[in-house]
Amino acid sequence: MSGNRDDVLRIGHLVFWGGEGSDGFFIDAEGFEGWSDAPNTRTEEVNLDDGDGSYDSTEFYEPRIITVSGLCIAGSAERLEHWRNQLFTVLQGRKQIFGNYQGARQFVYGRRFGQPKFQTIVPGSLARYQFQIRCANPRKYGERVPTTVTGPNQSQSIYHRGNFNAYPTLIVRGTMPSYRIEGPNSTWQIARAVTPSTPHTIDNFSGVLYENGQVPLSSITSGVGWSFPPGRIFETHRLIPDSGSGTLETVLYDTFI
């Protein structure tokens, strides 16, 4: 990194700066990999029995691996040790990681990967650090897409400004014994009652319905969920109550790879 002092990366309360400074973590000129890059690709190779090459089978992205390295600068040995401890504190568990890079604010979910390093170069003032983050879900998320909360049988117009399939989370409120949600190529059929105190949250990424943080069994009777490919506006997205009334809120982020 060079030039302006930008907060390139945030994990928890810790900031990794671009540019230069005198206290904290700074990212090297070539010390930020895997963020702009696409993740590695995997494919299931099936060779042709009696011909050149292999079958044209579908390819997928592997988890995203982000590598961050640079210098940690401090005014004293105690301060340097403080930064070291802070680094290994924020690298615990699954983290939401915010990036601010090339004019885009995006976030990923990831965990530490490999061996994080913190090696003192000049005792009391300078250390070199390096760590990797593995994002099991390789997607990067941007701004939340503005959507409107709609009533029964009212269709929503959905689009996003990312470059990859975006999975919406659906929040259903109201009073209904059962209902359906119609998406672009599937329909959720829900056999569980919604009440004002038990709204439903349906995660299209995992196909799980949550009710106050719990997952009630036998609530989804059919449907496999859907995602929104980029660059298109979808007009079919609505709540259809079997009886009663309710609203549908769609939570969706610009989704990138």
């Binding site: 299931e44 099936v46 029995d49 079958y55 089978s57 995992s206 069994l217 036998s218 989804i220 059919s222």
Partner: protein, 367 residues
């Protein structure tokens, strides 16, 4: 895309979509297929009690779908919790296994002198009635019946069967006996979704083969849609004559037979191969002879079994191929097959959580 669901066995209602890290299944006509899957517990949002409810043996059925359509459904048989990988691996078997555990009577309703009889039906009709008493009784109540797509009546004809209460013949053995008769139909329970996403098993009874759509495959092209094709001939079970041993013992034992008097010369004569087969529940000599003829037809020549792979992502997805489908292979100038068309009958499928699907077929010619 493969997706996986757990359904309640007796109602067919979907309980939960689950994620798997690995798994395999096999389904086979007139047989009991099985499988095993590793379910991901981490991040499922379900607690321990809910998981234990979901993996409870027999109560639940795992369904593997391609593009939302069931390809395989297995009744859970057991599970193994792996603390290290945070997964639960479940074992399961196809619905027909349940017929192994069903008699025509239930505990508390059996009379020693009684019997269950069906007559004046076709072989297909007899099987329909057997399945009805095993899985879809009008007086079945909760826990006996499973959701079945089964015809309302049953086909008339001049066959029948009797299951005596003192014999403890299971419904499965009753069905297998009818399948083994001369002209006995193939039987398959094909899983499908009906109504609001309920699982149901469609009872398919052949005539004698189960009907199905035909899929054409041109084999001698650069990228054939079928690959890893093998054909295997097995003569272990071959017969030239057979005695079918029926009811009774010693001198009073009923015995049927069927056999060749002269040996077929193809391309060299094979030696005489006689065998005996038990049909202990049968007392009618003509029926025993019929079983003998059926055995002879089945085992007069080596069994030729084909296996081939296809990619589920191809033009014909795993959801379209059903047991009973016809697979037509067209060879032209092939190093082994020359130029000919081979019609196959799809009798089995094996798959994993990945794309290649193994098809097991029999040549239709001469069958």
């Amino acid at each position: 895309m493969w997706t996986y669901f757990i359904h309640e066995t007796t109602t067919g209602i979907r309980r939960q979509q689950v994620k798997v890290t690995g798994g395999s299944f096999s389904t086979r006509m007139s047989d009991i297929g099985s499988g095993e899957h590793e379910l991901v517990v981490a991040d499922s949002g379900l607690n321990r009690a809910q998981w234990l409810e979901l993996v409870h043996p027999w109560a639940n059925t795992l369904v593997q779908c391609w593009n939302g359509r069931p390809v395989y459904a297995g009744l859970l048989q057991g599970y193994k919790v792996n603390r290290k990988t945070r997964t639960i691996s479940v074992r399961h078997k196809e619905l027909r296994l349940l017929l192994n555990r069903r008699f025509p009577f239930r505990v508390g309703t059996r009379l020693q002198e009684g019997h269950w009889i069906v007559r004046d039906k076709s072989l297909r009709g007899v099987i329909t009635e057997l399945v009805r008493v095993g899985l879809a009784r009008p007086d079945g109540g909760d826990g006996w019946n499973v959701p079945l797509g089964i015809p309302a009546g049953s086909e008339a004809g001049n066959s029948g069967t009797t299951l005596f209460n003192w014999d403890f013949t299971t419904i499965e053995n009753g069905i297998a006996e009818v399948e083994d008769r001369d002209g006995g139909p193939d039987v398959h329970f094909d899983p499908r979704y009906v109504g609001a996403g309920q699982l149901e098993w469609e009872l398919k009874i052949g005539n004698p083969r189960i009907g199905g759509l035909q899929f054409d495959y041109v084999m001698n092209v650069a990228e054939p849609r079928l690959f890893d094709v093998t054909s295997e001939a097995d003569g272990t079970e071959m017969l030239t004559g057979v005695f079918t041993i029926g009811k009774g013992s010693e001198k009073d034992m009923r015995v049927g037979e069927a056999g060749l008097v002269q040996l077929p010369v193809r391309p060299k004569p094979i030696p005489f191969l006689d065998s005996s087969r038990p049909y202990k529940e049968v007392k009618d000599i003509p029926e025993l002879n019929g079983h003998g003829i059926a055995e002879l037809k089945r085992h007069g020549a080596p069994t030729v079994q084909w296996e081939m792979k296809t990619l589920t992502t191809g033009d014909v997805g795993a959801d379209q191929l059903r047991l009973g489908s016809r697979i037509r292979q067209r060879y032209e100038g092939d190093w082994w097959e020359g130029t000919r068309t081979i019609d196959h009958y799809l009798i089995g499928m094996r798959g994993t959580h990945e794309f290649p699907l193994v098809l097991e077929t029999q040549e239709l010619e001469g069958l």
